[in-house]
Amino acid sequence: MAQIRKDKERVTPALATSSLPDIIFMLLFFFMAVTTMKEVTFKVRVSPPSASEVQKLENKSLTRYIYVGKPMQVYTKSFGSETRIQLGDAFADISELESFIISERSAMNENDQSLLTVSIKADKDTKMGVINDIKQSLRRAYALKIVYTANKTVVKE
């Protein structure tokens, strides 16, 4: 039933904003896809070393992180300024590392347990003595796949 409209009564419509939410949602989904949740709040200052031959970490859900560095300014009073290890959200002693890895692994799906990767995020000024201790603990905990976190540098020719 065609109805004849009265064209005279037409007014200029307001700017159509109905697509704005869609655009924003698109942005939202984009960011949700490309970013990852922050793993933890850092309590130690970590600026990773740089290397040119780095590979991308493949499976985030199979990776556990060990942070090594000097405590942040806020914590220096209670934890000193020596290099410390952070596991999860808290400072930890090197002796706790083995049990941490074992409990993390037992919390994982049985099929994935052998794929557990430990990523060592250490500050570039860390002494190797600390790293050696970590490596020995990881060996005892049978967490043999490790990754030394490093930032990618541009290859100089």
Partner: protein
């Protein structure tokens, strides 16, 4: 029903605000950075009463890299700059002229490539001091990995005419078995006297 009634539209003007709020929330709580790193495999742990069997590796098959507490390198008994390490390591792994001092070459049949002479028993041994800086250690690791990567790249260009990353899986495996990555991170030794040996 003759009248034309306009259905009231759902007020969607606040939708944008809600979406913005969510967007900002995600921007704040997430991080863009993807983790990258050098992956390594640690050796099996030693059991308590296990005695380390005497290593029966021909001396010419070992490439010893030592880093001291001043981050200086000692490669095969001579002081070296980090930048020179890559070439040195490549020469060691490849042993192009069948040098007496470089690792033993043996003939191995590799699928897709046929018979190749490779230094299959070579080991790169990386030893560091307790006081070595982590950055220096990573740099050395990086150079060693780079040496392997460059050799593989050369070989795949030579044999397949393509870059290593463009090869299919079988070809990559073949190239990898010509140059297997053998970097051993030694058992830590505690050097007396503040690590200065």
């Amino acid at each position: 029903m003759g009248k034309k009634r306009e259905t009231a539209e759902v007020n969607a003007s606040s939708m944008a605000d809600i979406a913005f709020l969510l967007l900002i929330f995600f921007l704040v709580t997430t991080s863009m950075s993807t983790s990258t790193g050098l992956s390594r495999r640690l050796p099996q742990p030693l059991l308590k009463d296990q005695v380390v069997p005497p290593v029966d590796i021909n001396k010419r098959n070992i490439f010893i890299v030592k880093i001291n507490s001043q981050n200086q390198l000692l490669v095969q008994g001579e002081e070296l700059n980090v930048k020179e390490l890559r070439e040195k390591a490549k020469e060691f792994i490849k042993n192009p002229n069948n040098d007496e001092k470089l690792p033993v070459k043996s003939k191995v049949i590799i699928p897709l490539l046929g018979e190749m002479e490779i230094t299959k028993d070579h080991v790169v041994s990386l030893q560091n001091d307790v006081d070595t800086q982590y950055q220096a250690y990573i740099e050395v690791q990086n150079e060693l990995v780079a040496a392997y990567n460059e050799l593989r790249e050369d070989l795949s260009k030579d044999k397949f005419g393509k870059s290593f990353s463009e090869l299919d899986e079988d070809q990559q495996n073949a190239v990898q078995s010509v140059y297997p990555q053998k970097i051993s991170e030694a058992e830590p030794k505690n050097y007396a006297g503040g690590g200065k040996k």
